[in-house]
């Protein structure tokens, strides 16, 4: 990971080294493998199928976050902009397309080329367009896992459609890899995925303590394994370690923010290039961001007795694939569970499904809880649209109002 990933918490998390080691090994394998096929996959995609088929999943979004944190995303995006991609389009996509063309990025030489693509539109419609471009650029096949959006009702026919696509995906992967799918192996992977998800939930839950042992800025860094490699044993081992460390902190009364006074919930993708400055800003004002709507998105339930149906269900009802009134219920639940004093929303130019509706959500949260909400206008990786001075001023005024 980038330098920005180091030591975000004022109190250093010891497990960070293991996490970095895990991610470095993962990227080295992905870059050097000669036997395993590479599949680029969206962050909300059903990676368990790839792990079960010995395919290496590569996440342009994770790489986009790394490029954002390393502050190299705007340079990569410019290459895409020169190709005609508007600056108003998602900055992950622009940085990724630019990075593919320049063969550059946060890891030397950029991401390893894909053999095929797995795009799941449960996080946005943008990924469909972005992966279509990748499919044209690399001239590789793309599988679209189409997860119908839930406005007011989750219909049976939608779940069935997604479940059937899981079966179709198996066929696609068998064709691409020339290998046979093993239900037995898949069940093992699903089991480890469930175990990792349970541990990750456990990690996030430790932030319910006062003081919280970590902040969401730490969670943004430590989420990388659950996003990319869930289903592997290393991830299970890693989160056992991290959870243990957080529990020890609670036992020792160590908080991530010295003299934690205010507890806040974060909404939306991190502002990767400003994580350190934001982390310090909140911490120096005795405010701890104890939970967020982003890292909880990977806490999906899979039921082992019927993994396919429960996966179809779980992947369809993720946070970004539901209407804002359903999001509101979850947001209120999060605020209550973590005893939050307020809400900080990143209005992210790059992410419409996450950001449009935030104005309504902010008002509703304040109406229902009496707690204030702050909206920061920014972009997840494109620092060219960010005004640090303005954000600092607004954050300080907000904390004063608490």
């Amino acid at each position: 990971m980038s330098d920005e990933g180091d030591n975000l918490s004022l109190t250093q998390i010891k497990a960070t080294d293991q996490m970095k080691q895990l991610m470095v090994e993962y990227y080295i394998e992905a870059k050097t493998t000669t036997e395993k096929p590479i599949c680029w996959i969206t962050s909300g995609g059903p990676v368990e199928f790839l792990i079960a088929m010995d395919v290496i999943p590569v996440y342009p979004e994770n790489h986009g976050a790394m490029c954002g944190a390393a502050k190299i995303a705007p340079g990569l995006a410019e290459t895409a902009e020169e190709m005609g991609f508007s600056r108003d389009l998602c900055s992950y996509a622009r940085a990724d397309i630019g990075g593919a063309v320049k063969q550059d990025g946060a890891i030397p030489g950029g991401l390893p080329k894909p053999d095929f693509l797995l795009c799941c539109n449960n996080i946005c419609g943008t990924v469909t367009k972005w992966y279509e471009e990748l499919s044209r650029y690399f001239d590789v096949p793309m599988f679209l896992m189409d997860t119908p959006f839930i406005h007011t009702t989750k219909t049976k026919h939608a779940t069935e459609y997604v479940r059937q696509q899981c079966l179709e995906l198996v066929g696609f992967l068998e064709k691409q890899t020339g290998r046979e799918f093993s239900l037995e192996k898949f069940a093992e992977v699903a089991l480890r995925s469930v175990a990792a998800v349970e541990l990750w939930k456990g990690v996030l839950k430790t932030a319910e303590s006062r003081p919280s042992p970590f902040t969401c800025f730490d969670a943004f860094i430590h989420m990388a394994p659950i996003v990319t490699l869930r289903g592997t044993q290393q991830v299970v081992d890693y989160y056992e370690l991290l959870k243990g460390e957080m529990e020890q902190r609670i036992a020792d009364g160590i908080g991530a923010v010295p003299e934690e006074k205010y507890r806040l919930v974060w909404d939306n993708i991190p502002i990767w290039y400003a994580m350190r400055s934001l982390g310090n800003l909140f911490a120096s004002n005795q405010a701890c961001l104890v939970a967020d709507t982003y890292t909880t998105a990977w806490a999906v339930d899979i039921k082992i007795d019927d993994p396919l149906t429960s996966m179809a269900d779980a992947y369809t009802k993720v946070y970004l694939n539901i209407a804002i009134d359903i999001m509101l219920d979850q947001l209120l639940g999060l605020m209550e569970k973590y005893q939050a004093d307020g809400l900080v929303m990143h209005s992210n130019r790059s992410c419409k499904p996450y950001s449009l509706g935030q104005y309504d959500l902010a008002r509703a949260v304040t109406e229902r809880t009496g707690k204030p909400a702050l909206i920061i206008e920014a972009d997840m990786t494109d620092s060219r649209v960010y005004s640090e001075a303005q954000v600092r001023e607004r954050v300080e005024a907000f904390i004063e109002s608490l």
Binding site: K129, H151, Y161
Partner: protein, 373 residues
């Protein structure tokens, strides 16, 4: 100019006048929708009037409290009209799953706009394959049931009748567009697009009568000036009538288009030999696709180039809403394909309410000059 064509200017001026007067006259219900993939025939068959909402040129006031500035003007001005009470002739609204903005607009609209009926049609994003078709038919049937709860039964024979009326409309528009391909001077691009656009604003059989009238007028018009530079328009929705007027003024004309209130609106007929819901589902896939939909077996660039060739267009312009992701992502590859085929093109990004015709004129003139050389 005949009586039919004279109506067009009024439709541009006050697009919702026909819907308001229909409602007053019949006491029927009016259902609005944004996306041209809305299953209009079902609404029509229930005796209600489907009307397309397409935003307008205005400075927004109320919608800024709900939508960020980085979302398209179609959503921002449309919501503004609703919140200002200017769409009070609507009894309900239907949202079709297309892009991320429309998806969220549906939520915001449902919670704030205050119409009695709100329907979502979560069409598949995949527009091919048995799995997606099966899901599409079930989703349309599910929507039909929601619609029936509000509007009353939609018997199969009524739906079949509406399909015929809609197909008649599509055929008439196709014939008129065909006349322009032969003889673009017979009708200006502004009027041609208004004819297609207004189809989504009026009761269909009334619009059919109107089109029949126009068609008669056009057929009796002799050969017109055919010297204009023939251009092809690409984008989502085109409602900038002054732009099209300017296009004609600088010696060009849009002979054909890929706008969803233009050719894409009336493209392909609903099969009349299938069960009605399946027929509606079939046409949505058959018509020229929108970049919100994923197709692996159809190359959009090749299809557009084919249409450009058939319309004998010498250049193209992309007329895109700022912040539109589906069209924005398709642009570089389409542009490259056009370049390769020797079709010069121009990218124009606009926001309703802040279009400067003068600025666009310079760029269009440059394109026209390039083609003339």
């Amino acid at each position: 100019m005949g009586a039919g064509l004279e109506k067009l200017a009024a439709l541009r001026e006050d697009p919702y006048a026909p819907a308001r007067s229909w409602k007053e006259r019949t006491g029927g219900k009016v259902i609005g929708y944004f996306c041209s993939l809305a299953p209009e025939e079902m609404i029509h068959a229930a005796g209600a009037l489907p009307v397309r909402i397409s935003g307008e040129n205005r400075v927004i006031s109320k919608s800024g409290a709900h939508l960020q500035s980085y979302c398209c003007s179609l959503a921002r001005t449309g919501l503004d009209m609703a919140l200002e009470g200017e769409l009070s002739f609507l009894d309900g609204t239907v949202f079709v799953h297309t892009c991320d903005t429309m998806q969220r607009l549906s939520d915001i609209w449902r919670l704030n706009a205050g119409f009695v009926f709100h329907g979502d049609v979560v069409l598949p994003v995949r527009f091919e394959g048995d799995l997606a078709r099966d899901y599409e038919v079930k989703e349309l049937s599910y929507f039909k049931e929601r619609l029936e709860e509000y509007l009353g039964d939609i018997p199969d024979d009524a739906l079949a009748e509406s399909i015929k009326t809609y197909n008649r409309n599509r055929s008439l528009l196709s014939e008129i567009y065909g006349l322009r391909l032969e003889n673009p001077g017979v009708l200006s691009s502004v009027d041609a697009l208004t004819l297609a656009h207004s189809s989504a604003l009026m009761e269909k059989s009334e619009h059919n009568t109107f089109l029949e009238e126009v068609l008669e007028e056009l057929k009796s018009t002799g050969p017109a000036d055919g010297s204009k530079v023939r251009l092809f328009g690409v984008g989502s929705l085109m409602d900038q009538w002054d732009f099209l007027g300017m296009l004609e003024a600088v010696g060009a004309t849009m002979v054909d288009d890929d706008f969803c209130n233009g050719r894409r609106y009336f493209d392909a007929l609903t099969p009349e030999d299938l069960a009605p819901v399946e027929a509606v589902a079939a046409r949505l896939w058959e018509r020229e696709s929108c970049p919100c939909k994923h197709l692996t077996k159809r190359d959009r660039a090749a299809r557009l180039l084919d249409r450009i060739r058939r319309s004998d267009a010498r250049g193209a312009f992309f007329f895109l809403f700022k912040f539109c992701e589906p069209h924005g992502f398709d642009y570089p590859y389409l542009k490259a394909a056009f370049d390769k085929a020797g079709i010069p093109s121009l990218l124009l990004e606009i926001e309703q309410g802040s279009v400067s015709i003068e600025q666009l004129r310079t760029r269009v003139e440059a394109l026209v000059e390039t083609i003339k050389i």
